[in-house]
Amino acid sequence: MKRLRIVLLIATVAGVFLLTSTDVWSQGGTTTPQVTARAATINNMPAGEVLVGDTVVLRIHQSAGGYTPLQRANIVASRLSESFRQGLTVNDVQVGRLHNQSVLMMGDNLLITADPAEARINNSTTTGLAVAWQQNMLAALSPGTPGTAVAGTQETWPAWTNPTTKVVPIVSLGTPGVALGFAQVTGPTERVTRVQSVVQLSAVFERAARIFAFVPSSEAAGMNRVQGVAVTALLQYELIRF
């Protein structure tokens, strides 16, 4: 009887050891990255931060969808942790488009939408902001990969320290090849030289105002915005009555 107890005890200890060691081996020596969220104060305003390990990869300044910045950060951290648990890696973090908005995805999982308000706070575009977040994650999880010190450094709006001007045709996306007039664009020399046209977009606001947006483009007929350049004069054929 005593011998049986000893055998059972040894078998139990061996079983526990086996299960523990199997669990460790099944992870292949890699541990799931630690993802956390915390509250922060930026310019006296509450913000939420998402951290991978000790590195802040994403900072949220705006409330959205009824959630505070901290709540949003917690949601993103939870999605990121869940994605890691599913076996996804940092290489699965991609910038994409969903419902006409720039988003950060991990595999098929939505991590966060780069909304315009957040992008403006970061002095960036929505796509630029999403790319910056992606770069930050890469830098945090793949040592040696350079991250972006400031979110949205892909193309920012520069100060016009040495501005120059240029006159280019105004084209419409709907009728390529037809010049609606001409626009003078102004900005830093190296950016102004890239501008080939100004693309005109029109929209109606509240049935009371027609809006003509002007996008300096590096293409003669297509739209590829050159940041840091804006219109300073319009020469049009009676389109807008000043």
Partner: protein
């Protein structure tokens, strides 16, 4: 009998009509003062001060849809035509945040190049150019969109 039927019918009709009136009275949607009303009453400056933020967000959303939004700060301000001496519309200006904050209006100055007439759009630090020949211009800011209220 016929009189009784008449009164019953009359009561039903009266009930329906009064019900219709009261339901219409109580459920009529609130009439918000819209942009057109404000434009008629207060002009461009009042529209911009009341709806500038909404118009600014609307323009940014339109540009975002086309993946063409500006990376700089933006704001909607009134356009003052120097030639006509009146406010003629509004503009969204874009630039570095500090300069955009200083911008209070855009002065439209008529220009002619060859056979084409147009306007130079100069961001200024006041809502309308002060008297005299100089404009209080704001450097580093340009126009991203023009808003025409002549619909």
């Amino acid at each position: 009998m016929r009189i009784r039927r008449f009164f019953i019918t009359l009561s039903i009709v009266a009930l329906l009509v009064s019900g219709g009136i009261f339901s219409g009275y109580f459920t009529r949607p609130a009439q918000a003062v819209d942009l057109g009303d404000i434009l008629l009453l207060g002009g461009v400056v009042l529209v911009v001060s009341s709806f500038g933020g909404q118009i600014n967000s609307f323009i940014n959303d339109v540009l975002n849809t086309h993946q063409a939004e500006a990376a700089g700060a933006t704001k909607v301000v009134p356009i003052f035509s120097v030639g006509r001496g009146a406010y003629v519309g509004a503009a969204q200006v874009v630039g570095v945040p500090a300069s955009v904050r200083r911008t209070k209006g855009v002065a439209s100055v008529n220009i002619t190049i060859g056979n084409i007439a147009g306007s130079a759009l100069v961001p200024i630090a006041t809502q309308r150019p002060s008297g005299g020949s100089s404009l209080s211009t704001v450097s580093g800011v340009g126009v991203s969109a023009v808003i025409d209220f002549h619909l």
